[in-house]
């Protein structure tokens, strides 16, 4: 593995297998009375979040704490960034305090990559603009591997048909997911209305080997797993669809579509959900929904990532 985790492209299939095997062991810690491992004792991790986040930030914070690292949260609001400090100055200031890792979320695509060139610490991209969110992709694939496995043992995603639906244009999760899932041998189809299909996706899909579609009802019966993506109203300026009702009719996981899907096909959503928009409450709360498993998987996967980036020799 590289020193940083900036993009899902950084991880080979072998890296992912190692991370998952470690995550599976970390997962058991969540069921223990003493939720603490000493592996990162004496390491300091800064969670630097310039965008709002509940689950990613708390999940990284818990992951660091359970590995005995000191984790400190800095959010955009309430930091000197709101006084006009540049990203470079903020990051260099923090780095001067001797931190070992910076977990970063920023609204600008490529921000984590940029920061990794300024500091010695390991940088983990926890979401940069509409670019990537590699740990989310890892935890989604890990949650699916557990679902397709048996007991705690991880199953293979080889040949599984995973359908990603929703606001692809604004989704960093989708980009990372496609890379990670195809690397694990899954067959991926992404579905979106034409207005939310990223420009230039045709050349990427043909080189990376995944399919695109505008017709959810045609794809859904062939799915082994469905990932619903959030409609990112905060990134939308202008009309991408006429009304939210119309979006739901065309691309929402409604009660009717849930029936088509059947009771066996797992449903994922990276959260936060817009209930009633991209996913009906019936689907979100269905027995086959992995949404809460994704959250618990998130802690285990992030523990695994932090462990592999920070525990060994020559790190940070």
């Amino acid at each position: 593995m590289n020193k940083h985790l900036l993009s899902s492209e950084d991880l080979t299939a072998d890296d992912i297998a190692t991370l998952f095997a470690t995550a599976a062991e970390m997962h058991d810690v969540q069921r223990r009375e003493v939720k603490k491992l000493p592996a990162l004792r004496g390491r300091t991790i800064i969670n630097l979040f310039f965008e709002d986040s509940t689950r990613t930030r708390s999940s990284f914070e818990i992951a660091g704490k359970w590995l005995s690292a000191d984790t400190i949260n800095i959010t955009g609001k309430g930091s000197s960034a709101s006084k006009g400090e540049s990203l470079r100055d903020t990051v260099l200031t923090i780095a001067s305090m001797g931190v070992d890792a910076v977990v970063m979320r920023h609204g600008a695509s490529g921000a984590a990559q940029q920061v990794s060139q300024w500091v010695d610490a390991a940088v983990v991209n926890a979401g940069d603009g509409t670019h990537e969110h590699p740990t989310q992709a890892l935890l989604d694939a890990y949650a699916l591997s557990r679902h397709f496995g048996d007991g705690g043992r991880l199953g293979s995603l080889e040949g599984r048909h995973v359908v990603l639906v929703g606001d692809l244009t604004h989704s960093r999760v989708f980009r990372s997911n496609v890379i990670t899932l195809t690397r694990l041998g899954a067959q991926v189809t992404v579905v979106a209305p034409p207005t939310l299909m990223p420009a230039g996706i045709a050349s990427w899909s043909s080189s990376a080997g995944f399919a695109t579609s505008y017709d959810l009802d045609e794809v859904l019966p062939k799915a082994d797993a469905v990932m619903m993506l959030r409609v990112q109203k905060e990134r939308m300026s202008g009309g991408f669809f006429p009304t939210s009702r119309e979006y739901t009719v065309g691309y929402g996981l409604t009660r009717d579509r849930l029936r088509v899907l059947g009771p066996e096909v797992p449903i994922c959503h990276p959260g936060p959900m817009n209930r009633g928009l991209e996913i009906a409450a019936d689907a979100a709360d269905a027995a086959q929904s992995l949404i809460l498993e994704q959250v618990s998987a998130g802690v285990a996967v992030r523990m695994s990532v932090l462990y592999h980036l920070l525990a060994g020799e020559g790190t940070a």
């Binding site: 190692t18 003493v34 920070l310 060994g312």
Partner: protein, 199 residues
């Protein structure tokens, strides 16, 4: 590459224990464990991966033969508790499997292949403390090669093997390596002479 059907020959070196020696040692250890515990009540065997796990299962099988009971066997990985994590590239932990009954108030017997510096056992004791509170913890090893760096000793030893620090002690077991043998050889790399470190 030779065909996988060929019998495994194992590493070079002087053979210290052959398959029959290992079998006898494990039988004796099994009886010692029962004797010391005055029966099988409350016993839990935890093997330290990789090779301790297979040894723990063999001891449990022998106890099942003599006592007619199945005692809980598990695995306790110590990777995340090592004190030399920062001296090597990060290693993926191996599976830890605690038997369903847990370890609280039990007599836990840790099982490992080689006892050397004692650092693995130190890490295992830390790991145990995070999982529960056994009534008693004991240690069974196939080979004790000396050179302790911590105040730790084994309760049950298959063979005491005087060795030089520069030598390598190599344990190979059917489960993991396709044959049962313990050999000792001069280490080609004196800086990292032991299996215990190289694991």
């Amino acid at each position: 590459m030779p065909a996988t059907t060929e019998p495994a020959v194992g590493p070079p070196g002087r053979t210290v224990l052959d398959a029959r020696d290992i079998a006898r040692a494990l039988t004796r250890i099994s009886h010692e464990i029962l004797e010391r515990n005055k029966g099988h009540e409350g016993l839990v065997l935890l093997g330290v991966p990789t090779r301790g796990v297979g040894l723990a299962q063999r001891i449990a099988a022998r106890i099942a033969e003599t006592e007619g009971v199945t005692i809980p066997v598990g695995a306790l990985d110590i990777t995340l508790y090592r004190d030399d994590l920062r001296r090597h590239p990060a290693r993926a932990p191996q599976p830890t499997a605690i038997p369903a009954g847990g370890i609280d108030q039990k007599t836990v017997v840790l099982v490992d292949d080689v006892l050397y510096s004692g650092r693995t056992v130190r890490a295992a004791l830390d790991a145990l403390a995070d999982i529960g509170r056994p009534a008693v913890v004991r240690l069974a090893v196939l080979v004790d090669r000396g050179h302790r760096e911590l105040p730790i000793r084994a309760d049950h030893v298959g063979k005491n093997l005087p060795s030089a620090r520069s030598e390598r002690v190599m344990v190979r077991l059917e489960e993991t390596d396709g044959l049962d043998v313990v050999r000792i050889a001069d280490s080609p790399d004196a800086a990292r002479p032991t299996e215990e470190v190289a694991r």
